[in-house]
């Protein structure tokens, strides 16, 4: 039975309330220390020399003049990093290959994109380090480059990796190409499905690479002692991951590297891989001095992230009554300079919101002379879902159903088999559609030049390895240590779950993010897993504290442990022994901890299973200027299943933030390359993310269909919100203008051109 929980809070003390986050005061006073805020005694500055060419062979690198410059303490090149064999390992929700990671961190044989690191320097000042970079002589043999995904797939395209044979093809190709991999996913009989369809719509879509756009550039500080003990302070989504990658690339024992996660100024998937960190450690080792490295915004845009640009073809078939019977897609994804685009998850989630018997998805992972893509909030999802949700919108119009009704008719629910394999458990897609239908937004009349769009969203969410410790302090307060960096209120959620379990006030629990020496392995903050996984581990740790408290009291009272229970923050004799002793508070239990067995600590180390997907429905109103083609979002409502919202304000914040990023992706953001293969808009002036005056208030509705695998019903919520906005905006523009936009971003010149073309054919509504 699916239940729609409305007002949370009645059955809980803390969960569903909106307390001030524990790290809040530090963040409004400037006290919080982010990646670039640490200074170590004797610290020097590291800078990276980057390739000016999108594609070139490195004939030689001469660092001798740089090394001789006064104030230069170390210079490193690829020679300082051991080459790595090909081996794929998980990085967030994507896979990486160490052979490629070592080359992405520092170019070896070739440079493969503008901004590719070729050497790095550490010097006593930033200006000396910059001078030293100019003294490094790199002899390049410039090669032809390729930027566009379809160009890169052509047989005569310049080859990035001369030995790359496409995987996933039978028979395997005999010649190398830029196509790293072909994937295929399917369900049923696609030909029979389309044969049974009354209406078939096929469209092609293009999306541009967009950057995660975190406001804090990558930053770290490293120090390595003479006996090889290394410490790294870094802005990252996962410090255990950073430790693993650095140990691997440097050939050091994992135990030699202690990584502390600084406060992180945004990540969105982009801080799940290493760029500066192994370089900083290598420079620190070589110089014997602490080394601090901070990227400029230009470096961030040219050499970190972004997500893929893509070309997507979608074909869907429906019966006259609107029943979807067949769906097919081809997805061509840019991976950047090294393979590993999110084409697989994109294919997996493309049709996931719908119950369709016959599905076929084919994807290609294609390299080109761009920065290697990194995860970006629901990696791949927004691209595939933009295409699919646009076609679904057209289908609805064709069969004469409103877009919510068509989705309701075909919505995935408990028991639906997804094209990517599993049958869904309890999921809340139908509930979000019903909530959208019931929302005032849906019925508010539109004005002149305005249109309304609907789009659905889906993301899987993950669990994974997690460790949390919860110590009962000697005065009865608690110290909670988690290992997933807090990017958007995690400490608050964990504190609330611990407080709920133990029936203690939130001011009695202090939450910290531990370093890699303080806990067992933790996978990163990503995949919308932190509140789910660290929350699950927190609840287990709290339950262990309760059990231990009962045990200690039982010892004091000389009762069997079953005869003691934990109620309302106290231990007391239970059953036939009830009332025999005064209940003890946690403070009283803590006071006797030494005499009854030592410190009381709950420690949970789990592989969190049972992460459940989160579905969303978004409503978007736009107003299009018929003269300029500028589309402005004037009203937006995001309705999403959170399972259960621990701290509703931060759940709403995830919805609102994802929507804003999606609107940027829809209307403004894109990487622009010149014919020389160089990025032309590597700054926030020209790579324009939405600002406050671009957006309206973003209304939210939290739907709660609890996840049965989590003690409090939590689903991940962070990624789904970025999936619907591009289609919601495109559908709204189509509704306002009569013109279907299929090429992102839907910037004024493109909309105007499409409008003019449609006007010439008499097909425009304005």
């Amino acid at each position: 039975m699916q239940e729609k929980v409305k007002e949370p809070g009645s059955e809980f003390t803390h969960i569903g309330t909106r307390p001030v986050r524990p790290d809040g005061v530090d963040k409004v006073t400037g006290r919080a220390r982010f990646g670039a805020d640490l200074s170590l005694p004797g610290q020097i500055t590291g800078k990276v020399l980057r390739s000016p060419h999108p594609h070139a062979r490195i004939r030689s690198i001469d660092t001798s003049a740089a090394e001789k410059l006064a104030g230069v303490k170390a210079v490193v090149t690829a020679a300082d990093f051991k080459d790595q064999p090909s081996e794929f390992v998980p990085a967030g929700e994507m896979m990486i290959n160490y052979r490629d990671v070592v080359r992405n961190v520092m170019a070896r044989e070739k440079v493969l994109f503008e901004g590719h690191p070729v050497a790095a320097v550490a010097a006593t000042s930033a200006s000396i380090a910059k001078q030293a970079l100019k003294l490094i002589k790199v002899d390049y043999e410039v090669l032809p480059h390729v930027i566009d995904v379809r160009e890169a797939m052509k047989p005569d395209a310049p080859l990035l990796h001369e030995d790359m044979i496409t995987q996933g093809m039978t028979p395997a190709p005999t010649k190398p190409s830029n196509i790293a991999k072909r994937i295929e996913i399917g369900l049923g009989d696609i030909a029979a499905g389309f044969a049974a369809a009354d209406i078939v719509i096929e469209r092609e879509f293009d999306t541009k690479p967009v950057h995660q756009g975190y406001i804090e550039p990558h930053a770290c500080s490293a120090t390595v002692s003479e006996d090889g003990q290394a410490e790294l302070w870094v802005s990252t989504q996962g410090h255990w991951i950073v430790r693993a990658h650095c140990a691997r690339l440097l050939g050091w024992d994992v135990s030699k590297i202690r990584v502390t996660a600084a406060e992180i100024g945004g990540g969105f998937g982009g801080k799940t891989v290493v760029y500066l960190e192994p370089i900083a450690l290598a420079l620190a080792k070589k110089s014997g001095r602490p080394v601090k490295m901070v990227m400029t915004r230009e470096e961030v845009l040219k050499a970190s992230g972004p997500t893929s640009g893509a070309h997507v073809k979608v074909k869907m078939g429906a019966k006259k009554d609107g029943t979807l019977v067949a769906a097919e897609a081809q997805l061509l994804f840019q991976a950047g300079a090294f393979q590993g685009s999110p084409v697989q998850p994109a294919a997996m989630c493309a049709f996931a919101p719908y119950d369709i018997a016959n599905v076929k998805l084919v994807g290609y992972d294609v390299v080109s002379n761009r920065p290697k893509v990194a995860a970006y909030r629901a990696p791949g999802g927004p691209i595939a879902e933009f295409a699919v949700e646009s076609v679904v919108d057209e289908l609805a119009a064709k069969v004469g159903l409103d877009p919510i009704a068509l989705r309701l008719k075909n919505a995935a629910k408990q028991g639906t088999r997804a094209a990517y394999g599993p049958k869904f458990g309890p999921v809340g897609f139908v509930e979000t559609l019903e909530a959208a239908e019931a929302h005032a937004h849906w019925r508010t009349p539109l004005g002149k030049n305005q249109g309304r769009g609907v789009a659905a969203g889906f993301w899987f969410n993950i669990g994974g390895e997690t460790s949390v410790s919860l110590s009962l302090n000697e005065d009865g307060t608690l110290s909670l240590t988690a290992g997933t960096p807090d990017i958007g209120g995690l400490r608050a959620s964990l504190c609330m779950m611990a407080g709920e379990e133990l029936s203690v006030g939130l001011d009695k629990i202090r939450v910290q993010i531990g370093d890699t020496g303080q806990l067992g392995y933790n996978f990163l903050t990503g995949g919308s897993r932190a509140t789910f996984s660290s929350g699950m581990a927190t609840v287990e740790a709290a339950r262990e504290v309760k059990r231990e408290a009962c045990k200690r009291a039982a010892k004091m009272w000389e009762l069997p442990v079953e005869a003691v229970e934990y109620v309302d923050g106290k231990v007391r004799p239970a059953g036939p022994n009830a009332g025999k002793h005064e209940p003890m508070t946690l403070a009283q239990v803590a006071a006797i901890a030494g005499k009854t067995g030592g410190p009381i600590v709950g420690y949970s180390r789990i592989n969190a299973h049972g992460a459940a997907p989160s579905f969303a429905t978004h409503l978007c109103d736009v107003e299009v200027d018929p003269e300029t083609g500028k589309a402005t979002v004037i009203r937006y409502t995001a309705l999403q299943d959170a399972g259960r919202a621990i701290h509703p304000s931060y759940v709403e914040g995830q919805y609102q933030g994802g929507v804003a990023q999606g609107i940027g992706w829809a209307l403004n953001e894109e990487y622009i390359y010149g014919p020389d293969g160089r990025m032309q808009n590597a700054g926030f002036l020209d790579y324009r993310v939405p600002v406050a005056s671009d957006l309206p208030m973003i209304d939210t509705v939290i739907v709660e269909v609890p996840n049965p695998s989590h003690p409090y019903g939590v689903r991940g919520v962070g990624e789904t919100p970025i999936c619907p906005p591009m289609a919601a905006v495109a559908n709204a523009i189509a509704n306002a203008t009569g013109v279907r936009m299929t090429d992102l971003p839907m910037s004024p010149p493109k909309v105007l051109k499409a409008l003019d073309d449609a006007r010439a054919k008499g097909a425009a509504k304005m």
Binding site: G488, Q656, P690
Partner: protein, 158 residues
């Protein structure tokens, strides 16, 4: 190349520092004076994370040289709370959950305070346009705008 001797006032305190000709006020604040609450997001004046006030006027400290601070009065995020008392804007950012990662927050608070000092009763549109020079990638601005409006109302005694 000798350094410049600069005398200025920071958050009301007389402060002296030496800086190179090409050092920005942001570099000086962060690297010399340890005032790391002012953040660097772009160093081109596009993101507003380094917002400070100079003689009461809102400025991106990455676009101003350290030497230009001579004789001026600089306000940074570190000067916003008075003793243990947070500024109403700081209180409202917390109660409205108007921050997620928090990197843009100091810049927003400094910018919002500069707005309310000039205009104690801004409309939503005025708040949005005033804050258009401050980028936030986490919140979609909704809760930030609400927090600023609410703080303004409270400061007016409304």
């Amino acid at each position: 190349m000798s350094k410049h001797h600069v005398t200025t006032k920071i958050n009301g305190d007389e402060t002296e520092f030496l800086c190179e000709t090409d050092e920005t006020l942001l570099d000086v604040l962060r690297n010399q004076l340890g005032l790391t609450g002012t953040k660097e997001g772009c160093s081109t004046g596009d993101c507003g994370a380094c917002s400070v006030t100079v003689d009461g006027r809102l400025v991106c400290s990455c676009l101003m040289l350290g030497v230009e601070a001579n004789g001026k009065s600089i306000g940074t995020i570190e000067g916003m709370a008075k003793g243990e008392k947070l500024h109403p804007l700081q209180e409202k950012f917390l109660s409205h959950a108007a921050l997620q990662c928090g990197i843009c927050t100091p810049g927003f608070l400094v910018a919002a305070k500069a707005l309310l000092d000039k205009n104690p009763d801004p409309s939503e549109t005025e708040v949005r346009y005033w804050l258009a020079g401050n980028l936030c990638r986490c919140t979609g601005y909704d809760k930030i705008v609400r927090a600023v409006m609410d703080a303004a109302a409270e400061m007016r005694g409304a």
